[in-house]
Symmetry: C2
Subunit: 127 residues, 2 copies
DNA sequence: TATAATTTGCGAATCATTGGCAGAACCATG
DNA sequence: CATGGTTCTGCCAATGATTCGCAAATTATA
């Protein structure tokens, strides 16, 4: 009980996320599937994206229009630099956070246990 | 043309945001208004919150359930440390970002022009 | 191939948010 | 303090992303 099946739709969805290194909404993934002649329902796209996020294989963010978007992650703890031009996502390590954590506690009395960051600009190729 | 009226509903909504220093959804603001016997429609709450954000007097974030939430801001460019216990929002300056910006460019070739950060933990009172 | 568990597709339901519009509130002016 | 043009508000319907329920299809295993 509670095993896990490797299915065609899941592989097709993961494929699309792997090939595009940028945040995609469920609708965008669905459109990409249709272009690739893959017959996967929108429901399955939603379920699979959420499943990838739950497993830590993808991370999600809410875009300006309030839609959930997803991107495949390769390293564990990091943040995203998002290119304004092409949407490319660069993974950024966050080693300097330790010092910041100390300052936050000393100055605001605030004990940090998690953080989220997003950086916007132009990636190397788009500059 | 294009003047701006000071109205009762707007003042009542701002009052609630000022008294609670934490992120509130439109529905939560609406409920607080009802508790205070203020008769303001949910539509007006939505419009007023969006207006405050557009004027830079409030900042918004999408919470875990995908709902838009709002908090009053007092300083200009800063980030938020959000207490996991009481929801209190602490404003944090971000002076150290300049050095980070340089590193990002040198290491990833990424030219930063904006960033967003959120910090989660326990505020001074809740520790 | 038969069987049990898991996943999918479809359509309906949900729910926050937005839009349209008629009436109410606001405020500068006479 | 009455008037009139502008700006807001309330109501209610519409939108649109996301979720749910369930029967049929797919997968793994023997």
């Amino acid at each position: 009980m509670c095993a896990e099946y490797a299915t065609r739709p899941r592989e097709q969805i993961a494929q699309i996320l792997r090939s595009e290194r940028r945040y995609l909404s469920a609708a965008e993934v669905f459109q990409a599937l249709q272009r690739a002649r893959a017959r996967v329902s929108l429901s399955t796209v939603y379920r699979t994206l959420d499943r990838l996020r739950a497993k830590g294989e993808a991370s999600s963010r809410i875009d300006e229009q309030g839609e959930a978007t997803y991107v495949i992650c390769t390293t564990s703890h990091h943040h995203h630099a998002i290119c304004r031009v092409c949407g490319h996502v660069e993974e950024v390590a966050c080693d300097p956070m330790e010092r910041f954590t100390e300052a936050l506690k000393a100055y605001h009395g605030f004990e940090l246990d998690a953080h989220a960051m997003e950086f916007f600009g132009r990636c190397a190729r788009c500059r």
